[in-house]
């Protein structure tokens, strides 16, 4: 019954087309739009207000370049402001952890129930061991949740990390004893996993205070679920009041939440986000990048992450070019072929595309070695003109290509369809999101290709711009496609691969 926000907003702005610059008159409506987007992303009400006020002050009087629309200008102002706010300050520096020199470093993990503390403890320990040559000792100090100790023990065992626990001891004693144990056994990093607690639970909040005074942690992380709503402000503030927080670990970013809670927490506690959790496995921990979160928050998708993951196997320049081409109308079958080859190197595109919220899974799942070779043969049997403009491939040409590639006409048709699907999806992603809403609102020149927006260029350093993570703006799969996906899933699982 509630109209979707975008419907409502497009109505509000329907009369507002053709304006090319920020004016006193249109900025208010533009700001209302941004505000709605921030609230929809779970940014706290007051934080959103503060932000709007701040950006407004900057925006008014800002000269708008002739060729740039007011909407683009506004998005850019917000993007820059948010990135500046989310990125660690000079003083905070780029090192998430302060390592002790005279004794083992103590890292404390705190947060609400189910936020991901235990998992993040294991993830961070593996990360520190593998990339920083640390020797972590995990401390199971959650004596509340049933089997919490066992959970950490299993994670430790699976990852070759020692876990410390003594039954019957309170958490503060466990932390102290663990420090002694670390000294004795030559472990240099003590990581204390604590019980989840509500910020209004006085007894448990005091317990955190006691742990703190018993071991004086060098670094304390607040583990925060990316899906958290407005209450993030209250809970984070309460945690900060009993513990000096040094960093936030934002978990479950592998979902499709916008992650606005991170903005709220940063704003009200001043604590920088340091790591993000992107899955349940220990490898699923990544350093935090302010620009990516802001892109996601404003509905521009996590394109940069995608590009970066691709960079692991494709060279950087090429990946960037490819992403840009993928998002543009210039994406050709040659690019498609290149991509398929890269995918083969990379494993599954499904995994990769999972980084872009809303992309239908299963779209490229069927790609296997043999199919890939076939596709390669098909594309190679096309003329350069056909590769650039697949729409010119008529039945006659199809027959020729099938012969040339030693396949059948329906293989050629299927491949072309797959390609078209991909191209369409890319276009859709480009269309959605806050940016296009604003563009619509301000009438920023219809039918503009991404390449025509020089000013957007700087907004997503290292990557192309303008994909959407907005659930609404991404085409929903129809029942057929879903059924097909399920079938593909089943097939995959039969092959004994459970990707998690």
């Amino acid at each position: 019954m509630f109209e979707s926000l975008s419907q409502r907003l497009s109505k509000v702005f329907s009369g507002l087309t053709g304006r090319g610059r920020l004016t006193e008159g249109n900025i208010e409506e533009g700001l209302a739009e941004v505000r709605a987007a921030l609230l929809e992303a779970d940014v706290h009400f007051r934080v959103a207000k503060d932000l709007i006020d701040r950006v407004k002050a900057k925006a008014v009087g800002t000269e708008v370049v002739e060729s740039v629309s007011a909407g683009q200008m506004l998005v850019k102002l917000f993007h820059d402001e948010l990135v500046e706010m989310m990125a660690p300050s000079e003083e905070e520096g780029s090192e998430p952890i302060s390592f002790a020199t005279a004794r083992p470093t103590v890292i404390l993990m705190a947060g609400l129930q189910g936020s991901g503390k235990t998992t993040s403890t294991a993830k961070l320990a593996v990360h520190l061991r593998d990339t920083r040559k640390r020797k972590p000792l995990l401390v199971a100090a959650d004596i509340q949740r049933p089997a919490a100790v066992e959970q950490l023990r299993q994670l430790g065992a699976a990852n070759d990390l020692p876990v410390f626990h003594v039954a019957g001891e309170p958490p503060e004693a466990l932390a102290r004893l663990a420090l002694a144990e670390a000294l004795r056994t030559g472990r240099d990093t003590v990581m204390v996993d604590t019980a989840g607690r509500l910020h209004i639970d006085e007894a448990l909040m005091e317990e955190l205070g006691r742990i703190r005074s018993s071991v004086t942690p060098d670094t304390t992380f607040l583990v925060c679920d990316a899906m958290t709503g407005q209450d993030a402000v209250r809970s984070a503030t309460a945690f900060r009041d009993v513990l000096p927080l040094d960093g936030v670990i934002l978990t479950k970013l592998d979902g499709d939440s916008r992650g606005g809670a991170a903005l709220s927490v940063r704003h009200v506690t001043g604590t920088p986000v340091r790591y993000v959790g992107v899955g349940e496995k220990v490898a699923d921990l990544q350093p935090f990048h302010a620009d990516r979160l802001v892109g996601r928050l404003l509905g521009m998708g996590d394109v940069v992450s995608l590009v970066e993951k691709a960079q692991e196997v494709v060279d950087e320049k090429e990946a960037e070019d490819q992403m840009k081409r993928m998002m543009s109308d210039r994406f050709t079958l040659d690019d498609f072929l290149k991509q398929l080859r890269a995918i083969r190197k990379m494993g599954s595109l499904g995994d990769l595309m999972g980084h872009l919220p809303g992309v239908p899974a299963g779209l490229t799942d069927q790609i296997d070695e043999k199919a890939l070779h076939r596709t390669e043969a098909v594309v190679l049997s096309m003329t350069p003109a056909e590769r650039r403009r697949p729409e010119m491939i008529d039945p006659g040409r199809k027959r020729r290509i099938a012969r040339g590639s030693g396949t059948a006409v329906d293989v050629v048709s299927k491949m072309l369809k797959q390609f078209e699907q991909m191209r369409k999806m890319m276009k859709q992603m480009k269309k959605g999101g806050l940016f296009s809403r604003l563009k619509g609102a301000f009438g920023g020149g219809g039918g503009m290709g991404l390449g025509d927006m020089p000013d957007m260029e700087g907004m997503l350093p290292g990557g192309p711009e303008g994909a959407s993570s907005g659930g609404r703006s991404v085409p929903r799969q129809d029942a057929d496609a879903r059924r097909k996906n399920r079938k593909a899933e089943r097939k995959r699982r039969k092959q004994g691969r459970r990707r998690r």
Partner: protein
């Protein structure tokens, strides 16, 4: 449209303010301050876009001269929300036996603990209960549920971590049927609705249960974390899209979060909330009551 109906019916609600609660809106003519206050209250309770809708309808009612006084705003919002939330929903009704309840939700939402709570309720009603530990993925998930089963002294069907959850579900259904158990509750691994393969796995668990016990699962309960913001709506939609979610339970409402996202869920998807979780113990469960839910929005802690 609910709002329109409410605007017309407002005269009735004029005096319906529940006593004893802190008033959040001012006396005298409806002014900007009162509106701001109400707007903040609704948004900070995670109502999201529904808050915007409510504010629009308040302004509309004000323009039409129906809402004139500041103190009319709260009853207006209350009534609207109550209308959306509907009657208090029925508790879980145990039909044919074994009655199979599947519990699902995103990671860490409170599934396993909620199962302990539901079991305790059902035991108190005199039903026999069996648990199926189908979270075979997360470390010590089986041990966690086992501890609850021991505490409540109920049977649990389990396998090692890493086992196939649907195979286990079948075994559990089989055991429940053979042993004449009243209620079988199936715990599942937390999964994000964006993970298609895991959603497919959930669908498979449902199918397999139905293969052994006709009509199973009879109830599919989605557990939502009460501190979750707007993503809760997407979760509800996607889980329902995948499996036939029959009702919701909202956990962690013992904190300061209000769980306002369920307004949109109710409004858009019509899914009823049957229970809420208000703590970590097996006793910390309450029937969902729309009145108390709406009251809580207007109660300053």
């Amino acid at each position: 449209m609910v709002f329109g109906k409410l605007i017309r019916g407002l005269a009735k609600t004029r005096d319906s303010l529940v006593g004893g609660l802190r008033r959040l809106v001012g006396r005298g003519p409806l002014d900007a301050d009162t509106l701001d206050q109400m707007e903040e209250l609704l948004y900070t309770s995670d109502l999201g876009p529904a808050a915007g809708q409510l504010m629009d309808s308040i302004r509309e009612a004000n323009r039409k001269g129906i809402l004139k006084e500041g103190e009319q705003v709260e009853p207006f919002v209350r009534e609207t929300l109550l209308e959306i939330m509907g009657e208090a929903s029925l508790p879980l009704v145990i039909g044919e036996k074994p009655h199979v309840i599947l519990v699902c939700g995103v990671n860490g939402s409170g599934k396993t603990t909620s199962i302990a709570k539901l079991s305790k309720l059902l035991l108190a009603e005199g039903h026999s209960v069996m648990l199926a530990a189908c979270d075979t993925f997360r470390a010590a998930a089986v041990e966690q549920l086992t501890i609850w089963a021991d505490r409540l002294d109920i049977r649990i069907v389990k396998r090692n971590t890493g086992a196939d959850p649907s195979g286990l579900a079948f075994d559990a259904a089989d055991a429940a049927a053979k042993e004449g158990i009243d209620v079988l509750i199936v715990d599942t691994a937390g999964r994000l609705h964006t993970q298609k393969n895991l959603m497919a796995e959930l669908e498979k668990i449902c199918r397999v249960l139905g293969r052994r016990i006709e009509g199973a699962p009879h109830e599919i309960l989605l557990i939502l974390d009460g501190t979750t913001g707007q993503n809760a709506i997407t979760q509800a939609r996607e889980f329902r899209e995948s499996v036939n979610v029959t009702s919701l339970m909202v956990s962690k409402l013992d904190g300061t979060a209000r769980g306002g996202a369920i307004v949109s869920i109710r409004e858009q998807l019509g899914l009823p909330v049957t229970y809420i979780g208000v703590g970590e113990a097996a006793d910390d469960i309450e029937r969902f009551d729309p009145d108390s839910f709406v009251d809580a929005l207007f109660t300053a802690e």
